[in-house]
Protein backbone atom coordinates (compact mmCIF):
# COMPACT_ATOMS: atom_id res chain seq x y z
CA UNK A 1 0.00 0.00 0.00
CA UNK A 2 1.38 3.35 -0.96
CA UNK A 3 -1.60 5.54 -0.20
CA UNK A 4 -0.07 8.26 1.93
CA UNK A 5 3.60 7.41 1.43
CA UNK A 6 3.92 8.49 -2.19
CA UNK A 7 6.63 10.89 -3.31
CA UNK A 8 4.23 13.82 -3.71
CA UNK A 9 3.09 13.45 -0.12
CA UNK A 10 6.68 13.28 1.09
CA UNK A 11 7.55 16.42 -0.86
CA UNK A 12 4.50 18.27 0.46
CA UNK A 13 5.36 17.24 3.99
CA UNK A 14 8.93 18.43 3.48
CA UNK A 15 7.66 21.72 2.05
CA UNK A 16 5.29 22.26 4.99
CA UNK A 17 8.08 21.52 7.46
CA UNK A 18 10.37 23.93 5.60
CA UNK A 19 7.67 26.63 5.62
CA UNK A 20 7.24 26.17 9.37
CA UNK A 21 10.97 26.46 9.91
CA UNK A 22 11.11 29.53 7.65
CA UNK A 23 8.31 31.12 9.68
CA UNK A 24 10.33 30.64 12.85
CA UNK A 25 13.48 32.05 11.27
CA UNK A 26 11.69 35.11 9.84
CA UNK A 27 9.95 35.73 13.18
CA UNK A 28 13.37 35.63 14.80
CA UNK A 29 14.79 38.06 12.24
CA UNK A 30 11.91 40.50 12.80
CA UNK A 31 12.24 40.15 16.58
CA UNK A 32 15.91 41.15 16.34
CA UNK A 33 15.44 44.08 13.97
CA UNK A 34 16.77 46.51 16.62
CA UNK A 35 19.49 44.24 18.04
CA UNK A 36 23.02 45.50 17.33
CA UNK A 37 25.37 43.09 15.53
CA UNK A 38 22.54 40.61 14.79
CA UNK A 39 22.85 38.69 11.51
CA UNK A 40 19.78 37.46 9.67
CA UNK A 41 19.20 33.80 8.75
CA UNK A 42 17.19 32.16 6.03
CA UNK A 43 15.91 28.70 5.17
CA UNK A 44 17.00 26.91 2.02
CA UNK A 45 14.68 24.17 0.84
CA UNK A 46 13.27 24.75 -2.64
CA UNK A 47 16.70 24.84 -4.29
CA UNK A 48 17.71 21.63 -2.51
CA UNK A 49 14.47 19.94 -3.58
CA UNK A 50 15.00 21.09 -7.15
CA UNK A 51 18.53 19.68 -7.11
CA UNK A 52 17.40 16.37 -5.63
CA UNK A 53 14.65 16.06 -8.24
CA UNK A 54 17.28 16.59 -10.92
CA UNK A 55 15.41 19.38 -12.69
CA UNK A 56 18.01 21.99 -11.84
CA UNK A 57 21.37 22.36 -13.51
CA UNK A 58 23.05 19.30 -14.99
CA UNK A 59 24.48 17.02 -12.36
CA UNK A 60 25.97 13.55 -12.09
CA UNK A 61 23.64 10.88 -10.69
CA UNK A 62 24.91 7.52 -9.44
CA UNK A 63 22.95 4.45 -10.59
CA UNK A 64 21.65 2.40 -7.68
CA UNK A 65 21.36 -1.32 -8.25
CA UNK A 66 20.91 -2.11 -4.58
CA UNK A 67 18.72 -0.26 -2.03
CA UNK A 68 21.69 -0.13 0.34
CA UNK A 69 23.69 2.01 -2.08
CA UNK A 70 24.28 5.58 -1.01
CA UNK A 71 22.45 7.85 -3.47
CA UNK A 72 24.71 10.16 -5.48
CA UNK A 73 23.17 13.26 -7.02
CA UNK A 74 19.53 12.88 -8.02
CA UNK A 75 17.53 10.81 -5.55
CA UNK A 76 13.90 10.30 -4.64
CA UNK A 77 14.40 11.22 -0.99
CA UNK A 78 13.19 14.63 0.19
CA UNK A 79 16.05 16.88 1.33
CA UNK A 80 16.22 18.41 4.78
CA UNK A 81 15.68 22.16 4.95
CA UNK A 82 18.75 24.08 6.10
CA UNK A 83 19.20 27.33 7.99
CA UNK A 84 21.95 29.57 6.68
CA UNK A 85 23.10 32.79 8.30
CA UNK A 86 24.08 35.78 6.20
CA UNK A 87 27.29 36.92 7.91
CA UNK A 88 28.51 39.12 5.06
CA UNK A 89 26.07 41.90 4.29
CA UNK A 90 25.61 44.99 6.45
CA UNK A 91 22.47 47.11 6.60
CA UNK A 92 22.93 49.60 9.45
CA UNK A 93 25.70 51.36 11.35
CA UNK A 94 25.40 48.72 14.09
CA UNK A 95 26.23 45.92 11.52
CA UNK A 96 22.73 44.47 11.89
CA UNK A 97 21.60 43.26 8.45
CA UNK A 98 17.84 42.80 8.88
CA UNK A 99 15.93 44.62 6.13
CA UNK A 100 12.46 44.89 7.66
CA UNK A 101 10.70 45.47 4.30
CA UNK A 102 12.25 42.33 2.89
CA UNK A 103 11.44 40.29 5.99
CA UNK A 104 7.79 41.41 5.97
CA UNK A 105 7.38 40.48 2.29
CA UNK A 106 9.09 37.13 2.87
CA UNK A 107 6.70 36.61 5.77
CA UNK A 108 3.65 37.25 3.59
CA UNK A 109 5.08 35.04 0.84
CA UNK A 110 5.78 32.23 3.27
CA UNK A 111 2.27 32.40 4.68
CA UNK A 112 0.73 32.15 1.22
CA UNK A 113 3.06 29.26 0.31
CA UNK A 114 2.08 27.44 3.48
CA UNK A 115 -1.63 27.88 2.76
CA UNK A 116 -1.02 26.62 -0.76
CA UNK A 117 0.78 23.49 0.48
CA UNK A 118 -2.00 22.71 2.95
CA UNK A 119 -4.61 23.22 0.25
CA UNK A 120 -2.70 20.96 -2.14
CA UNK A 121 -2.44 18.30 0.56
CA UNK A 122 -6.16 18.53 1.23
CA UNK A 123 -6.75 18.21 -2.50
CA UNK A 124 -4.66 15.01 -2.59
CA UNK A 125 -6.61 13.57 0.33
CA UNK A 126 -9.88 14.50 -1.38
CA UNK A 127 -8.85 12.79 -4.63
CA UNK A 128 -7.89 9.71 -2.67
CA UNK A 129 -11.23 9.74 -0.88
CA UNK A 130 -13.03 9.97 -4.23
CA UNK A 131 -10.98 6.98 -5.39
CA UNK A 132 -11.90 4.97 -2.30
CA UNK A 133 -15.57 5.83 -2.23
CA UNK A 134 -15.98 5.70 -5.99
CA UNK A 135 -17.98 8.89 -6.23
CA UNK A 136 -17.45 12.62 -6.26
Amino acid sequence: MNLLNGPEFGRLQGAINAAEMRQRVIANNIANVDTPKFKRSEVVFEQLLEQSMGSGAFQIAGKRTNPKHIPIGSSSSVPQAQVITDEVSVMNNDTNNVDIDREMSLLAKNQLNYNFYVQQMNHDVKMMRIGIEGRG
Partner: protein, 149 residues
Protein backbone atom coordinates in the same frame (compact mmCIF):
# COMPACT_ATOMS: atom_id res chain seq x y z
CA UNK B 1 5.18 20.84 15.87
CA UNK B 2 7.77 23.57 16.22
CA UNK B 3 5.53 26.35 14.89
CA UNK B 4 4.87 27.73 18.38
CA UNK B 5 8.49 28.86 18.62
CA UNK B 6 7.64 31.55 16.08
CA UNK B 7 5.20 32.81 18.69
CA UNK B 8 7.94 32.81 21.31
CA UNK B 9 10.23 34.92 19.14
CA UNK B 10 7.50 37.46 18.38
CA UNK B 11 6.35 37.51 22.02
CA UNK B 12 9.86 38.18 23.33
CA UNK B 13 10.19 41.00 20.81
CA UNK B 14 6.85 42.50 21.89
CA UNK B 15 8.11 42.51 25.48
CA UNK B 16 11.44 44.08 24.46
CA UNK B 17 9.81 46.79 22.33
CA UNK B 18 7.32 47.61 25.08
CA UNK B 19 10.22 48.00 27.51
CA UNK B 20 11.90 50.37 25.03
CA UNK B 21 8.62 52.30 24.87
CA UNK B 22 8.47 52.49 28.69
CA UNK B 23 12.04 53.77 28.88
CA UNK B 24 11.38 56.35 26.16
CA UNK B 25 8.26 57.51 28.05
CA UNK B 26 10.36 57.88 31.18
CA UNK B 27 12.96 59.92 29.26
CA UNK B 28 10.36 62.27 27.79
CA UNK B 29 8.55 62.60 31.13
CA UNK B 30 11.81 63.53 32.86
CA UNK B 31 13.15 65.85 30.15
CA UNK B 32 13.07 68.77 32.60
CA UNK B 33 13.78 66.93 35.86
CA UNK B 34 16.68 68.53 37.72
CA UNK B 35 16.31 66.54 40.96
CA UNK B 36 16.48 62.87 39.97
CA UNK B 37 18.96 61.80 42.65
CA UNK B 38 20.61 63.33 45.73
CA UNK B 39 24.38 62.80 45.68
CA UNK B 40 26.84 64.35 48.21
CA UNK B 41 24.42 67.04 49.29
CA UNK B 42 23.62 68.11 45.73
CA UNK B 43 20.74 67.27 43.45
CA UNK B 44 21.72 65.51 40.21
CA UNK B 45 19.56 65.89 37.10
CA UNK B 46 17.94 62.94 35.34
CA UNK B 47 20.15 61.04 32.88
CA UNK B 48 18.78 59.57 29.68
CA UNK B 49 18.23 55.78 29.84
CA UNK B 50 18.72 53.31 27.00
CA UNK B 51 17.75 49.63 26.61
CA UNK B 52 20.40 47.08 25.53
CA UNK B 53 18.97 44.35 23.29
CA UNK B 54 20.59 40.96 22.60
CA UNK B 55 19.49 37.86 20.72
CA UNK B 56 18.40 35.09 23.11
CA UNK B 57 21.55 33.12 23.78
CA UNK B 58 21.70 29.54 22.61
CA UNK B 59 22.67 26.67 24.86
CA UNK B 60 25.48 24.35 23.78
CA UNK B 61 22.96 21.63 22.92
CA UNK B 62 21.02 24.02 20.67
CA UNK B 63 24.14 25.15 18.84
CA UNK B 64 25.34 21.58 18.36
CA UNK B 65 21.92 20.49 17.16
CA UNK B 66 21.66 23.34 14.66
CA UNK B 67 25.14 22.58 13.34
CA UNK B 68 24.39 18.84 13.05
CA UNK B 69 21.06 19.01 11.22
CA UNK B 70 20.33 22.72 10.80
CA UNK B 71 16.93 22.44 12.42
CA UNK B 72 16.73 23.56 16.02
CA UNK B 73 17.08 27.23 16.76
CA UNK B 74 16.22 29.10 19.92
CA UNK B 75 14.72 32.30 18.59
CA UNK B 76 13.95 35.61 20.16
CA UNK B 77 15.37 38.76 21.63
CA UNK B 78 15.88 39.89 25.20
CA UNK B 79 16.58 43.17 26.94
CA UNK B 80 19.72 42.55 28.99
CA UNK B 81 20.10 45.87 30.79
CA UNK B 82 19.15 49.53 30.93
CA UNK B 83 22.15 51.84 30.70
CA UNK B 84 22.53 55.58 31.23
CA UNK B 85 23.56 57.86 28.42
CA UNK B 86 26.97 59.38 29.22
CA UNK B 87 26.64 62.44 26.98
CA UNK B 88 27.29 65.68 28.96
CA UNK B 89 24.41 67.37 30.73
CA UNK B 90 23.03 70.59 29.29
CA UNK B 91 23.94 73.81 31.09
CA UNK B 92 21.21 76.43 30.97
CA UNK B 93 21.56 79.99 32.30
CA UNK B 94 18.60 80.56 34.61
CA UNK B 95 19.58 82.33 37.87
CA UNK B 96 16.04 82.25 39.25
CA UNK B 97 15.94 78.44 39.17
CA UNK B 98 16.14 76.87 42.68
CA UNK B 99 18.89 74.48 41.50
CA UNK B 100 21.05 77.13 39.85
CA UNK B 101 24.73 77.23 40.89
CA UNK B 102 26.57 80.36 42.07
CA UNK B 103 27.07 81.53 38.44
CA UNK B 104 23.38 81.14 37.65
CA UNK B 105 23.70 77.96 35.53
CA UNK B 106 21.36 74.98 35.92
CA UNK B 107 22.32 71.44 34.89
CA UNK B 108 19.49 70.03 32.78
CA UNK B 109 19.00 66.36 31.76
CA UNK B 110 20.78 65.13 28.61
CA UNK B 111 17.43 64.17 27.07
CA UNK B 112 16.84 65.31 23.50
CA UNK B 113 13.07 65.11 23.06
CA UNK B 114 13.43 65.01 19.28
CA UNK B 115 15.68 61.95 19.51
CA UNK B 116 13.22 60.30 21.88
CA UNK B 117 10.36 60.85 19.44
CA UNK B 118 12.36 59.21 16.65
CA UNK B 119 13.16 56.23 18.93
CA UNK B 120 9.50 56.05 19.89
CA UNK B 121 8.39 55.76 16.27
CA UNK B 122 11.04 53.08 15.70
CA UNK B 123 9.85 51.09 18.74
CA UNK B 124 6.19 51.35 17.84
CA UNK B 125 6.84 50.31 14.21
CA UNK B 126 8.89 47.32 15.38
CA UNK B 127 6.07 46.40 17.72
CA UNK B 128 3.60 46.51 14.82
CA UNK B 129 5.89 44.36 12.66
CA UNK B 130 6.06 41.74 15.39
CA UNK B 131 2.29 41.75 15.83
CA UNK B 132 1.99 41.15 12.07
CA UNK B 133 4.47 38.25 12.29
CA UNK B 134 2.53 36.79 15.19
CA UNK B 135 -0.76 37.03 13.28
CA UNK B 136 0.87 35.32 10.29
CA UNK B 137 2.07 32.45 12.49
CA UNK B 138 -1.40 32.20 14.00
CA UNK B 139 -2.98 32.05 10.54
CA UNK B 140 -0.62 29.25 9.52
CA UNK B 141 -1.36 27.35 12.70
CA UNK B 142 -5.11 27.57 12.08
CA UNK B 143 -4.56 26.48 8.47
CA UNK B 144 -2.54 23.44 9.63
CA UNK B 145 -5.56 22.30 11.64
CA UNK B 146 -7.46 22.03 8.36
CA UNK B 147 -5.16 19.30 6.97
CA UNK B 148 -7.23 16.27 6.03
CA UNK B 149 -10.59 17.94 6.59
Amino acid sequence: MKLTNGFDASASALTAQRLRMDVISSNIANAETTRASYVNGRYEPYKRKMVVLEPTSQSFADTLNSQMNGSSQTPGVKATKIIEDSTPLKLVYNPTHPDADENGYVKMPNVDVLKEMVDMISASRSYEANVTAMNATKGMFVKALEIGK
